[in-house]
Symmetry: C2
Amino acid sequence: MTIEYQYEQLEESGTLENFRRARDGKDGGFQGMWFQDSDAYKWLEAASYELAKADDTNLRERVDEVIDLVAAAQEDPGYLNTYFQLVEPEMKWTNLNIMHELYCGGHLIEAAVAHYEATSEESLLDVAVDFADHVDDIFGDQIDGVPGHEEIELALVRLYRTTGEKRYLDLAQYFVDLRGHDDRLKWELEHPSEIGGRSWNDGALIPAEGGGSPLLDEDGEYVGTYAQAHTSAREQEKVEGHSVRAVYLFAGVTDLVAETGDEELFDAVERLWENMTTKRMYVTGGIGPEREHEGFTEDYDLRNEDAYAETCAAIGSIFWNQRLLELTSEAKYADLIERTMYNGFLAGISLDGTRFFYENPLESSGDHHRKGWFTCACCPPNAARMFASLGQYIYSNIDGVLTVNQYVGSTVTTTVDGTDVELTQSNSLPWSGEVTLTVDTDGPVPIRLRIPEWAADVSISVDGGNVNQNDDYVELDGEWSGETIDVHFNQDAELVRAHPEVKSDAGRVAVKRGPLVYCAEAVDNDRPIHQYALSSEAAIDEEHRDELLDGVTVLQADAEVPSLDGWDGSLYRPDEETDIESIQLSMVPYYAWDSREPGEMQVWIRVT
Amino acid sequence: MTIEYQYEQLEESGTLENFRRARDGKDGGFQGMWFQDSDAYKWLEAASYELAKADDTNLRERVDEVIDLVAAAQEDPGYLNTYFQLVEPEMKWTNLNIMHELYCGGHLIEAAVAHYEATSEESLLDVAVDFADHVDDIFGDQIDGVPGHEEIELALVRLYRTTGEKRYLDLAQYFVDLRGHDDRLKWELEHPSEIGGRSWNDGALIPAEGGGSPLLDEDGEYVGTYAQAHTSAREQEKVEGHSVRAVYLFAGVTDLVAETGDEELFDAVERLWENMTTKRMYVTGGIGPEREHEGFTEDYDLRNEDAYAETCAAIGSIFWNQRLLELTSEAKYADLIERTMYNGFLAGISLDGTRFFYENPLESSGDHHRKGWFTCACCPPNAARMFASLGQYIYSNIDGVLTVNQYVGSTVTTTVDGTDVELTQSNSLPWSGEVTLTVDTDGPVPIRLRIPEWAADVSISVDGGNVNQNDDYVELDGEWSGETIDVHFNQDAELVRAHPEVKSDAGRVAVKRGPLVYCAEAVDNDRPIHQYALSSEAAIDEEHRDELLDGVTVLQADAEVPSLDGWDGSLYRPDEETDIESIQLSMVPYYAWDSREPGEMQVWIRVT
């Protein structure tokens, strides 16, 4: 449904019409944001993942139609960006800070790789290769500079992996190494008349005043933090600036490390991941608290009500973590992917997949709602490609071990060290922790199961193979002929505290159960949510309700609220004259909030 | 010191130069905000109060000099506003919404009355009378309309009381009755070209977009709430709009009621006072939480960190409450004056009287500081006239009873029902509740002492007279010949809760002692303030420290903070693995905050 819906949006928003006009050599008439081409590419990528899962003639024809359009719009020798082709053909590559030609090109490449992998057809790959060759010809030669919005880096590594052409890897390395050491972004800011007259603030989500742009410091001097261009990725200590850009960059850097084994760069991404996950990340996996520059601020600044926590930043974090997981096989990255998927990302999309949050606050007075589309419509097509590519996150096959990273019902047929494997997974997550795996192999194949961070107790029953267990993984060595592995992960609800430096969460707890973060909504509770305080030793009851929110497990916890007695006509009263009452607080999974009657919502609940 | 300092500011800001240019018939060259004349009038009023207390030749000469200037700048027949005289002489009285000619004129009248009462000289009174006569000639005849910013109403009643001219009272009644029923303010908004081209948003503290102006509703339709012009004062149910304007209006309305006995209007001010004090007032007495329109919002919206709570609104509230006290003799108004004086107002001024808060938040991350002057410099001269007129708030003489409303060291010599009285008051407030009064009379004079709302226990020893006591007052009937009345008000520190609907204060307490609200500042405490939670049964120690903040009583309370153990490398941990530690929280009076090293400050402290 989402793929079809979003195709309609591409037509309605003028995105496809822009390609048609460029194809026909027309002048002007561009519709939408100047980086709108990327919506078409994200849609092509998502549609390709769908085609990889199951061929669908209608969808394939529609995809081919869009690819034909994109290919026909491409200029010789490889340039492709309908905004510049239609509006400012003489200004190509002049404004790397905000004009996003390389960002759009990166999405073109990602779509092309996905399409090639799904169909073995080179129609879109040829377009991407021509584009990449054109960029390679120009950058480092006619222009030395990096894009304001990262994306091309990880795309080029993908293109290298698909084509084997090392110069794409080198080009990715060029962009990564130059960032923080180039003079281009600063020069552009200082010469607005030479970059097409479009200034930094023009149309970008950056306020015109008030120090909102971390490209500049308090004195108005260029610092580049917004675009992670304050220093080389190699030297960065903290995740900074626009959060989507940051995690896209780090995903690309991790790809480079995987190909080059660059230890210094690896140390940098580990250090940045540590900073993000231990000081700058919401309990939902969301990142980037600040609206003004859509990004990171200070350690422990995790404001709840006006949290930005952009849906696309959660998606980017998943991209980055998946690359770290593939590189290291460390379960912590899969844990964070799961946490972000079920909470920070999933909350961004309505239950029916047609409305989206751009921002994902952890507290609301009831006036924040999902919308069908946005002026800057990055989230919906990004969410579509995330959903369509979910399968890529479930299993990995590294060093001869078939690893189950995510618990998602699925069947995988693959080859591990030359041995054929068919593995079928069914489970009852996130509502209860039962996982059943059935495995068939041609010979001995070790199978590894991630033990989720939230699983306090794990029990496993296997009718074949030996069980080895550590904190992060259970490993089963054996030969399999249809045996069943039954796993139970305990997922009692638990109260979680935030670090004492987090001012917004002081004296509060979040409630988690299994991979899910819960929240309290006005619609389920009699009193305003802010009046509730949970007891630290609260008994928490669980009830699965099939009819509610497409089926959720609801939590009921012992809580206190202030008695309303004696308040009549008083605004302030001595504490000793006031009283409390016992009550139950009802909670639902955070991802499902704002699906019913609007009202107060809180993830972090006061605790007595 | 403040009077002298502010005179220098009048010169520096160009305020006096504007009058000189108008006097000399010059064109243009106006400096400052268009309502800057009012700064000169507020200064004259404050200086007159000083002259009433003690003659000072230098100050008297300076006052006469400024009065000469003001008189010379006045046009025939009575118009006076240097902005219009210098800049737009053809546009007088065209823009009542924001051009503040009547507001400035109101301050001229207040200054004139104060000067006449202090000196018996009519030099400034003549100017005020000419202005008022001019207004009376025009309004209701050539123009039907009310000013966007109230002030003229209360001023006209003052002028009536001083001169006995009933038409000033009638003119005040005209402005009060027309507000909410006039079409002028709306008409102006719809015809910007006919009101000098200056639009509502031009220079006013109203955002250009985003629904900040409560003159308009969500659909952009005129509602007038910002200027209390949504309906007649008679019909208003809640305090709304710009808070300074609101309380100035209600002060004027209360004055009218005192003169006319209008019961419907009296019911309205009582109803509005109830709404303000039981739903829309900070524990400090501050009012108006919202920055965008400097005013009131919704019941129980009492946000702390970004509280606006303008210093001038606290001053205006004191004006209003003093009029209610004089009208009714009810102690609750004197209580609120005391609370506002010591907290919401006093915090607005630095200990040395040279720097000011425009806004008075109840919580800060340490980046809010007093400044020497403001573009819109209403607070400093308003604070000066408040300080200079303090004496007017101490005693009242109503119905043959000499009432001590405020506990301020002073001597009063007066006549009560024909009997001469000399009363001397000394006390140790706010640090301890000892009050000593010595009274000499020519015959029997009942003396009434307010029992402050915060005094749980009261003990009185009198060596003359009989004691009658109710909840609000102690009354002593007697003939006095130098007898001493010793009073002790118990002022143990106490914890106060806000109404359960106040989201910002949920799970928090404020600490009060006597008339003072306390706060915790980073400079006195080891941990960030947000980490502290007081125990409901906290033992609170008191220590008076003469060397600190010009001498304050410091409070130390038992508190808890989270243990920092085990947090290394963690951002979120299970509640059951975390621990708390006992600690002391040190607090100082709120009025003295931001006088030392900047850092976190909180009035409302979490409670366990």
